[in-house]
Every structure is written in C-alpha cells, then in structure tokens.
Amino acid sequence: MKKILILMIFSFLAVSLMLFFMQINSSKSSMQSISGDYYLTSNAKDFNIPNVVTSIVTQYRGYDTIGEITILFLSIIGVFMLIKTTGFSEISKLLQEPGTIVHTATVILFPIIMLFGAYIIINGHLSPGGGFQGGAIIGSGMLLLFLAGDKKELNRTATHIVESISVSIILLIGLLGIYYLNAFFANFLYSLGTFGSIISGGIIPIIYILIGVKVTVEFFHLSEYLLRS
C-alpha cells in the first residue's frame, strides 16, 4: 500500500516535471542563452583554443573547477578517515589470484591505457577530453593493475606530496593572476602559441595537466583503499 502511494506520488511528480520542462523548452526561444552565446563568440579572441567547453571549465568558470577539485580532495580525505577508523589490513582478502588471461591482458593493455589517458589530458584544449576524463581513465588503468595481482606496497607519502603540490600549484597560478592582471585565475599567458597547437591557450593546458595529475592520484588512492583496506 505504501509502495503504491509512493509510486503514484512520484509518477505525478514525473508528469509535472515533464510538463514544466516542456513549457520551458517552448518559451526558451524568446531569450536564447545569453552567456552561451557570449562564450562562443568571445572564445576566439580571449583564449584562442578550439574546445569551448574546456575554456569554460578552466577559465570562464574556473572558480567552479577549483571547488570541484576541492570536493574530490575532500572525498578522498573522508574515505581515508573512514578506512582508518575501521581497521586497516595491508594485504587484501578481496582479490583472488588472477588467472593467466587477466595477467596477460593487463601486461598488454596497461601501457596503452596510460598512453591514451595522457593523450586525453594533454589534448584537453584541442579535442574532447581533459584532466578529469584522462585522470579517470588512468585511474581505472591502475585498478586493472591491482586486479592483475600487483601486491607492492604503495608509497603513501609520495602520492600525498604529488596530490597536495599539484593543487597548490593550481592555486598559486591563480594568485599569479592577481599579481599580473588583478583578478584571481586570470589568464596571464594568453598570447602564447598559435591556434590548434599543444602550446596555446595560455595557462589552460597547464591547469588541465595539473588537474589530470591530481585526479589520477586521487582515483588511484580510491581504488587502492577499495581493494586493499
């Protein structure tokens, strides 16, 4: 009875949301997205890179991205805290001994995944992709490494150093923006490079590579906590 009631309420909710969004969709043409048009038109003179989404993520709305990496950082810290307080056994009982297929496939696939992830990160401002995507790809590659039975102990201090330093460099680049152009996270290198080359777009590739390093390390941590705690 309770279930049927909940189902009814939510189907009513779904129908009303659908009507609401269809109405919005029909009234949308009168005020066509002001900020989207602005970003598309001024991207060429502001940052000079092909991927407009990247320039929005790292520059136009770069402050949101700082919030985003903060959230990832916090979630890893939280998972670390939870693992610590539940007891920490070094060698996992979760993983079975891998078969030959998994082992061989990992040996072949792992370098390719690494290369692909690095490509995605570095080309973030030219083609679809970027720090978060590439970092996640490399992080899943690391997961594969664990599945293949790599039992080496992780050097936690080193990964912590990489993690903290990369975010701090991002924030320091932002502060350099205050120094040069009197605005946090301003692109003070915007005149660098030509359209469509790897070195272009000023600080955008630098920021995306740093984000990629950080995301990689964080997802690596997460999968490590998951499989070995």
Binding site: I6, L13, M18, V52, V53, L82
Partner: protein
C-alpha cells in the same frame, strides 16, 4: 522532428530521476538506496545537458574559421556541458563517501538493511 528528439531527451532524464528516487526511497537495502541516488543523478545530468541542446547544431569544438564567423549560430550551448562536467565529479565524490560510510556501518553492526538498522540501534 526536433521536438520529438527533445521530448525523448527530457523523458529519459526525468524517468531516470524519478525512478532513481523511487528506488532510493522504497528499497530497504542501503546499497540499493545509493544506487538509486546514482541513477537519479544521471537523470539530472541528462536534463541539464538537454536544456542546452539545439537541433542540427555542432558540438562546441570549433575551428578558427567557425569561431570567427558567428559561432553562436552553428554550435549547441556549451554552458550546460561545462556544468555537467562539474556535477558528474561531485556525484562520484558523494557516492564514494556514502559507500564507505555504509561499509563502516556494516563492519560495526553487521547489517545493511535499513529497517533492521533502526531496530538495531534502538
């Protein structure tokens, strides 16, 4: 044509959102509840991207010529896509914390059933 496509996008998003919430509220298993929230989050992301969709346009990755000649007329709205990138990462951060809290709870109390959790504690 365009309207049918837009309706389908919104329908997909809204069904995932409400279906995920239904799963989250009805199911007794806490892991299944988390799965419901993940589904609902995917649904909201689809809704958000479909607000920026315009029929017969390009993705917002444009070459030099396109960018200098009225790009606003040939590309879809890039803003919702940038927002969704942020939203997806936020979703995975929340999910991982939630899962590990469930794991810690399980290790202490030996149950992940929502109803028996209440009894267990009272």
């Amino acid at each position: 044509m365009a309207l049918v496509l837009e309706i389908l996008f919104y329908l997909n998003g809204i069904i995932l959102l409400t279906g995920g919430l239904i799963i989250a509220i009805i199911s007794r298993n806490i892991i299944k509840m988390i799965i419901g929230f993940v589904l609902a989050h995917t649904g909201v992301n689809i809704i958000l991207v479909s607000t920026g969709y315009i029929f017969n346009r390009m993705p917002p990755i444009l070459n030099k010529f396109q960018q200098t000649n009225n790009p606003a007329a040939i590309s879809v709205d890039p803003v919702p896509q940038a927002l969704v990138l942020t939203s997806i990462v936020i979703g995975v951060a929340t999910t991982s914390l939630f899962m590990f809290y469930a794991l810690r709870y399980y290790r202490d109390n030996g149950t992940i059933d929502r109803d028996s959790m209440e009894e267990h504690n009272d």
